[in-house]
């Protein structure tokens, strides 16, 4: 069965500090990978998605970036955090190549607080 891991689970960082959140998926190959952000009491905002190693698409312009160095590893980064970057960050995966929409499975999330 497939499993998705995220770490750290919680993070408190000062404004202006760098960020690195990691996500790995087990039990599947060539997944689509996603980073979502959920602000307190808000919906799910798609930040980045990737259909393969080194292939990153950005949905929202911001000071965050994403990378996919390996097939089942997805990293969210920032060089300098802003207060507005606080939120619940969710990594997700979906089987590659499903037509007509795809089943998206979410990880446990990382709670980021920028102080």
């Amino acid at each position: 069965s497939q499993t998705i891991h995220q770490w750290p689970a919680t993070l408190v960082q000062p404004v202006g500090s760098p960020l690195s959140l990691e996500c790995t998926v087990e039990g599947t190959s060539n997944p689509n990978l996603y980073w979502y952000r959920q602000a307190a009491g808000r919906g799910l905002q798609l930040l980045f998605y990737s259909v393969g190693i080194g292939q990153i698409s950005s949905e929202v312009p911001q000071n965050l970036s994403a990378s996919r160095p390996q097939d089942r590893q997805f990293i969210l980064s920032s060089k300098k955090l802003l207060l507005s970057d606080s939120g619940f960050y969710l990594c997700a995966w979906a089987p590659l190549g499903l037509a007509g929409g795809h089943k998206v499975y979410f990880g446990p999330g990382t709670r980021l607080t920028v102080t």
């Binding site: 996603y34 919906g43 998605y49 969710l90 037509a99 007509g100 929409g101 795809h102 499975y105 999330g109």
Partner: protein, 111 residues
Amino acid sequence: QQQVKQSPQSLIVQKGGIPIINCAYENTAFDYFPWYQQFPGKGPALLIAIRPDVSEKKEGRFTISFNKSAKQFSLHIMDSQPGDSATYFCAVGGSQGNLIFGKGTKLSVKP
């Protein structure tokens, strides 16, 4: 432009009641309609999904009703329990893009 509109924003029902959450979409090209359940501090979990070739799908106490002509679909929770208290998200998907999520409905089931 909001491509999927979810209502209500919040909902309170008594145990045993049948909460109904609605979603409306714009684009007729969408052909995949899932619902997700999210408990506080956890990632959303896929609950149930429907394709437009059927008008209803049941999985346990959860039912999706789908109205293709009206471009609407809804989630019904039969015999709701306090453990169903969570935030529910609808989404729409198509072959040309990623899932688009509604803004969520916070459900509270009172004992």
